[in-house]
Subunit: 248 residues, 2 copies
DNA sequence: TCAAAAGTGTTTCGGATACACCCATGA
DNA sequence: TCATGGGTGTATCCGAAACACTTTTGA
């Protein structure tokens, strides 16, 4: 799939005729979550000589907003077929306070649709684009000041993710293919920001009936070797669709 | 507040220069729920010589999307300060299949943001507008075929409303100021589309701590006179903000 | 041999569910 | 007087939460 920014050869051209390729007034912002070293990360972008922001994009004339988010994600992480969820639309007229580029296409007012994504940290090689100088992971509870209302968008995404734990499993795409129960627990604890009982957690996860315990154990570490698990993709997807009833 | 359609004196003018007043490519659609005679109703609009649809509107240049939904609601029901919630954005490029007005402003592709509202049926006097010939309440499980993807939007709104019962009270704005416990129960049963135990329901509602039982009883009907209740607005609002943990 | 992590099972408790009896009212 | 709807209380059950002991491993 083509990179959206590549439709233009310069920022100036982009500012002058974004209209030709994209719907005006409408953007998509992605809160890309990853999990690494027992903490939840977000992928952020830094504008050249500017502030940090969420990776976002615009909506092409014949593209759905979902596709637009998928494309944005692909550009930034190289990943396809990952979990992506629309969570809220942000439409205050002054949400983009301090916006520059007055008079250009990009300088118009934009309503943005927020998506959050869950990706496998270890598979991602962050890359900046035409407009940005850096792209890297930040710890969710230590993000810098972001442009416009992006801090608020991120908070709302995190809140949506937390709420989703009550009726959907999480972990596929966020963890490596094989993982241990303690790893899965750390993930939940990190998202929820609270400690959980080891034994009750295990019972609850197993009762979801989306895990397969492998014969292997994770060796190498000190202490007793934990079992490895993987998700039963079919059952996992079913649970994602149907919804569960858990409580954290 | 001015009626949005009143910014133009004719449909033609509207088609030619909607741009002047509104953001292009962006609309708002409202699923307005009411409760009457033990069934859940939606307020629908009929285009002149055309199909039924959800009341919708466009977003003015200096207006938030929320304000736009509030305005739309006001136009249709005359009501202000009622409960309104954004639930999803619909952005398929071909969601408006069969769209007319090719080449005009209104004929462009629109991404629409869905809101649902809960209103007191008895306070509403539906009125059509410039573009529509009829405006009336329909039973939610008996709506006609709607334009574009509006049936889908309505379903999604209903689903969102059902889900919200799990963590938020409902009834304020949807019921008259004073109401009986059986009325409240009917409301829940209607939204959830299932029967609930009378005694357990009452216990659950009282445990929410948002109701005030009045001295009066509802007289006039046959049989034993039920108590009247009203909501404790302060506690109700708090519960709306904080969220509850119920289960239906 | 010991500290630290991981595997597993039992008890307890509270909230949800199921259920029954009495009361008021108009027909 | 009786059918219908409304008010209230209690027993039960299931799932969540609390909790303890054993096993493995490298240091």
């Amino acid at each position: 799939m083509a990179r959206s920014k590549a439709d233009f050869t310069s920022l100036q051209e982009f500012q002058e005729s974004g209209d030709r390729v994209y719907l005006s007034h409408l953007s998509v912002d992605c809160v890309i979550f990853g999990f690494h070293e027992n903490s939840l990360k977000v992928l952020l972008l830094k504008w050249k000589n500017g502030p940090w922001c969420l990776p976002g994009g615009f909506v092409k004339h014949k593209e759905s907003i979902d596709q637009s988010a998928i494309r944005t994600l692909k550009e930034r992480t190289g990943l396809a077929e990952i979990f992506l969820k629309q969570f809220y639309a942000f439409g205050d007229p002054d949400r983009e306070k301090g916006k520059r580029h007055e008079g250009t296409w990009i300088g118009k007012r934009f309503v943005t649709i927020g998506y959050y994504a869950l990706v496998d940290y270890s598979q991602v090689f962050p890359e900046p684009d035409l407009l940005s100088s850096e792209c890297k992971w930040w710890d969710v509870d230590n993000v810098p000041e972001l442009i416009y209302d992006h801090n608020q968008i991120m908070s709302k995404a995190l809140e949506a993710l937390r709420l989703s734990l009550n009726d959907h499993p999480v972990g596929y795409n966020l963890l490596p293919e094989k993982f241990t129960m303690p790893q899965l627990q750390k993930l939940y604890e990190t998202i929820l920001n609270e400690a959980l009982d080891r034994r009750n957690f295990q019972k609850q996860m197993i009762s979801l009936d989306v895990l397969i315990r492998l014969k292997e154990r994770k060796t190498g570490g000190a202490h007793k070797a934990p079992f490895l698990y993987r998700f039963d993709k079919r059952k996992y997807d079913k649970a994602m669709k149907q919804g569960l009833r858990l409580s954290f």
